[in-house]
Amino acid sequence: MNEMSKNENLDIQIYNFAYLDENTKRMIRRALLKALCIPGYQVPFSSREMPMPYGWGTGGIQVTSACLIPKDVLKVIDQGADDTTNAVSIRKFFQKTANVAVTEKTSDASIIQTRHRIPETKLKEKQILVYQVPIPEPLRFLEPREVETRKMHALSEYGLMYVKLYEDIAKHGHIETAYAYPVKTNGNYVTDPSPIPKFDNPKMNNSPAIQLFGAGREQRIYAIPPYTNVKSLDFEDYPFEAMKANFKCSICGSSDSYLDEIIVSDDGKRSYICSDTDYCKEQTKLNSKKED
């Protein structure tokens, strides 16, 4: 055994299953259950300093750590892709500390930790989707003070948010929010869906899966239980509209998945590919079967 792998074994022995100690997990677990009982409400929790920087998914990592069981199959994505650097790093962390199986296939995963996307493949009952959240407070950019925003949620006082959306329409004819588009959960709390493109918002509504949100630096946990009404904020005459680039994926040919724009030549020529790498792979497989 070389020096490196000896050290890696040492790490596993020093830390608890899935890294966090039992007391920290208890505190997070209590917060998670209350979050599920009050859909969309941000439960404060005493987030721990993790061995990754704040802002790099520490909230999601703490939630995943508190939820993981040995027989879980974990998928980690960032920007929809399994192979982006931070997704790779987080997946490795749980392989090392929890020794869980990992997958890239959405349908095989029992827990999916994500940053900025909801997978294209429809989720199933008892699958857990863990979102990494940078700023959990949807009202934060309208009112920076926690004391004030907490009051606004308590009173369901969301006028400020509607005024902002309305001003956008008056100025530009559109609501100027393309990602982290606010939703109302269970008809009650205005909730930040994390910085997913608004294309993904409809997937949150009435999903069979369990959606958990962790914001480490901001010390908040919230949840959207399965089969919960999640409505993107809008106006009767300006209904919410999901949006994506109007092209086909240049790998799998899909026209219904969210696309990333890439620059493919020095003269700035653009091409479009699925942001969800697993979905793209599955579509490509399906296509080749059809051709056979």
Binding site: K25, R30, K34, C37, I128, Y189, P225, P226
Partner: protein, 189 residues
């Protein structure tokens, strides 16, 4: 080691917690819990909730059937929880009748609705009323039997404040969080 509630603490507590996540996410459906070492008066399911969630910051109210030396010692030794009165309790354990009236338990405050009690109901012999339930976590309306459904309706009317319930029976657990809407099914005579 064999006297500890869980044989392999971090593994068993994680499995127990997953059952709680599922139960809380899908109200009205029954989920299974594993056996553990616990005082005989407690069901496995109720003991599992306490062991998985309580620590030295948790106030636990034990109704009189459960407020025995054995239960108290077991709980304090294994979790460090504080035995408390009704008013301050974070976790409450008892039979349905022994916990009535419910209005002494904390329901949270508008700024912090999560600062509310979780009630563990340890009994199956209460007077049952047929109800159907709806709300977050429920795909199609579900029929279940509840004791005094009017109290659950009242609790839901407090939403987003309110109490969260777990019904426990041996190895089974079922949740009715505050978000669940209750309709009493009128009996046909």
């Amino acid at each position: 080691m064999e006297n500890y509630p869980f044989s392999e603490n971090s593994i068993n507590s994680s499995i127990a917690f997953r059952s709680l996540v599922n139960a809380t996410s899908y109200p009205g459906r029954t989920f299974q819990i594993n056996k553990l070492n616990k005082p005989s008066v407690l069901s496995n399911a109720a003991a599992t909730i306490l062991i998985t969630l309580c620590d030295n910051e948790s106030n636990v109210y034990l109704s009189k059937e459960y407020n025995t030396e054995e239960v108290r010692n077991w709980l304090i030794f294994n979790t460090g929880a504080i035995i408390s009165n009704k008013k301050n309790a974070d976790f409450v354990i008892g039979t349905w009748k022994s916990l009535l009236p419910l209005n002494e338990f904390k329901i949270g405050v508008p700024e912090y609705p999560e600062r509310s009690a979780t009630l563990i109901i340890e009994e199956t012999k209460y007077k049952k009323v047929k109800c159907n339930i709806d709300g977050p976590g429920i795909k199609n309306k579900l029929n279940i039997d509840l004791p005094n459904p009017e109290l659950f309706i009242e609790n839901n009317n407090l939403y987003p404040l309110g109490l969260d319930f777990y019904f426990t029976n041996d190895l089974e657990i079922l949740s009715i969080p505050r978000s669940t809407k209750i309709n009493i099914i009128k009996s046909e005579h």
